[in-house]
Symmetry: D2
Subunit: 292 residues, 4 copies
């Protein structure tokens, strides 16, 4: 299948490579073309623009940092919007606002093009091993066409809704839940340390019992060991996702006290100059407040 | 081995039964003796007092609702304290305050008796199947003597420290973490519902991905389905444990913003008259605030 | 002096009337012209557009509901920007975002026009009696020119800075502080009621002692008596100002936990359908949570 | 009138002196007798015990640091309880828990003695000038007897209820409200500083407008100038009162989010080693978090 892939960051490159390995012909685009070089050397075509990448592609993936980037490659000059084949499907994997997701869905629907929101859970290492988890939402016909591609790049695809915006909500909820794990383990660690309880023993017990999930096993040690550099997911990006979930909730008048606590943690963290750290660094603020 | 078991609630009865099934001779005590009848019918000796139960026992277990109950059976008239054999070990499985755990440890140490704090994670059904998780702490010699008993009643024993009080801290931390899962899933559910996202699809995706731990699989459906009765763990008991973790943290000047949010949820829940519900009912307050 | 006044809401009309009473010639503009009729009947000229109002005016006041309205009358087609005399000063009294205030300041500076931010404290009744408090900021030359006008419409003008944006910050801070009074009195009232303490006696004691300021005397009785309709300052506008102060703080990485609590109160209030109530209605949520 | 005064701290000594200046005969007691010396030199009788002080007194005042101290002088060996004349009234001015106040009321009622709770607002300087504000509660007959004394030592006595415990609630509410002023001004100051707005100009504007009450005029400058030493009211005492209001609210299932934020501020402050500072030092934590 002809596949376009826009966004050659750590996540996008890893995913695109898996699609190519499954036999698909890729055209790739990145704003700074050097980052696309490894894929091009592996056989992908380097596109000159999002529109150029999208031409003749049956599926066009976007995996970008934020709303602005997605808007630019979609609606901008030489954006993918004007170049989509009649039968093509735009697959948006980025974590974007619910509002933008709704706008994308409406635009493609009006233009008679397919659109699937397919945000993922997983870090770059998981992407490289095709171990991502995909939350997909879109109309059935579009979903059917891209499902084989989503299955190639992930360990599991869950179709969560027909409305793409709901996949966007779900992704924001997932990142919100991760942030609550970070904060709660951070508070637990602060109390453990000040009590003289070994935090590694604490984690061993918890993740050996009812907390034996990757979210605790991944973030627990980062917080307990204070290993926040280099970042797996940079703190300002984590803050962005917290902002997006609060925006989505505010639009519906939903108060989320835990999300509000996390919001403040990000502000304090940024005031400390921690932009270069992993977002799990907010898990160290409870300890800082307690002077441990 | 001669084993005494004090506290014949749902948890205690199930655990005692497993000890008896492993071939140990049990003497059991409960303030209201009727609740001990099933064990007695299964072959246990009914003791007239905690002291009576403790006499000639190599290990004396206590599994009771709160500090007051543990104090009564330990330090009260006919309490176990005066009746412990020289080689006996008191095994405290109750969720109690750190301060009481320290007092018990000091008392037994001064009296030359063994003491192991062994709080557990798991609900009555898990106790019945010997699937509990035990966080044990105590001096090595006492620990060695009771380890075979702990292994019989659980699926895993983690020795987390030498100081018993630290097992108490760990248990409070574990319950704190469960409460944060309840609150965070409650907020997620409120946002999902108001967004039109199906909360069951949300849970399916999350627990199929990096949240695939019993804590999410157990509490998620309770909250999403609003199944808070009958209670598995009554709301006032959950509030008590929240109070205990905040007390432990306050004694060490540790601020725990998430625990503070949970504290308020319990107060609101009790004002609504929800004492008869499961503690996970606090997970419905985000939805109530959002009028969904 | 020729004065233009844009925005004929309750506040704007009252202020404009005082300027006219002091002998100034007013041209007035409002998007829906009917609301300007009382002023026109009192002798003001009805302008067809913001630009029309601004022509030949020495001072152009804007007093509007939000950023969007101020942007429209300033930068929009027939906006005041193109019609300002060389010596004219734009006096912005609206509560607007710091970002918009900075943009207005920069635009006027680049165009060689005067600009003074002069937000006010006080409700319509105070405006009618020229009892407002003005926090003014702007370059000295512009300030000098409009000071006589500001003095006419208020009981006190405080020049708080040279940079207009700082008057905007101060206004947002003032409204934030009022919101904290509302919330704190609401919590006090909930506790008093449930304790059997008469809340009127409570207020009498407090406002007779160290809390004897209008902010407590005005909002205390509203909350204690539950008099939230008709609104003096509508709840959605109060929420808007809370949003603005949080935005200003977020831009500078300042965590404001009290503002965050107030933010959630507004969300809950709006979910209850309280858009038609006074913003002090958030002071009733503590009581609602406590079921009093 | 024969008056006993127990508690010769800064507040108690100043109040006792005013009673003596009004012509009353005082017997005074303090655990460490040296602190009573100035009063004795001015003509008071030094009592050997609370009981000794109370003998033949028509009114017995207690003004002590906390519940423990009040319990000791009341119920302890040689406590005032056994020595009260039939017609005597115990006037409790200390800030104590609602529970202790209820216990005192019940005890005196059962013994047929008068009891008035009369906590005060004001610092030692105000006490010295008889400028305190008294919130009094008690049965009418007892109130009548001590009213002339209360009027001598204050600028205003407000009878707020018949039930003494409600004066206790009111005092805790008053201190809670002061703590919210401290926190809110602290947040405002952090935002002002980071915005480049002069915090003194901010205070001048606010306290010249609707915030012109002593609570803002007293605490605002302390926070803006960072003048936390020597303490007027020590931080651990402020924390104690926050604990008492939260306890009173918890007993009635009242959630107080602002009080909860203040609770955390005190914990962080104590972790920083600020026990020797004024309680208004918690108003500096917003700035610390924002790194200003």
């Amino acid at each position: 299948m002809n596949v376009a892939f826009i966004g050659m960051g750590a996540m996008g490159s890893a995913i695109a490579r898996n699609l190519m390995a499954a036999g698909h012909r890729l055209s790739v685009y990145n704003r700074t073309p050097e980052r696309a070089r490894p894929l091009v050397e592996a056989g992908a075509r380097l596109a000159a623009s999002p529109a150029d990448a999208a031409r003749e592609a049956a599926a066009v993936f976007t995996m970008l940092a934020d709303d602005q980037a997605v808007e630019a490659v979609t609606f901008g000059a030489d954006g993918l919007l004007g170049a989509l084949d009649e039968a093509a499907v735009h697959v948006s994997m980025s974590t974007i606002s619910v509002a933008l997701c709704e706008r994308l869905a409406a635009t493609h629907r009006d233009a008679g093009r397919g659109f699937v929101a397919a945000p993922v859970l997983g870090r770059p290492a998981a992407a490289a091993q095709a171990k991502l988890f995909v939350a997909a939402a879109g109309e059935a016909s579009a979903m059917t066409r891209v499902m084989p591609l989503l299955e190639v790049l992930s360990q599991r695809v869950t179709v969560v809704a027909e409305s793409p915006a709901q996949a966007s909500v779900l992704k924001l909820i997932a990142n919100f839940l991760i942030s609550t794990v970070i904060e709660s383990v951070g508070e637990a660690h602060a109390l453990a340390r000040k009590s003289g309880l070994d935090s590694h023993a604490m984690l061993e017990f918890l993740t050996g019992a009812i907390f034996n999930a990757p979210v605790y096993k991944t973030y627990g040690p980062l917080i307990v060991d204070g290993k926040f550099e280099p970042p797996g997911f940079a703190l300002p990006l984590g803050q962005k996702d917290n902002r997006l979930v609060l925006q989505a909730a505010e639009a519906l008048n939903v108060a989320m006290p835990f999300a509000a606590v996390v919001r403040e943690r990000f502000l304090v963290a940024r005031s400390q100059g921690w932009d270069g750290r992993d977002w799990s660094a907010i898990g160290s603020l409870a300890g800082r407040d307690a002077a441990v």
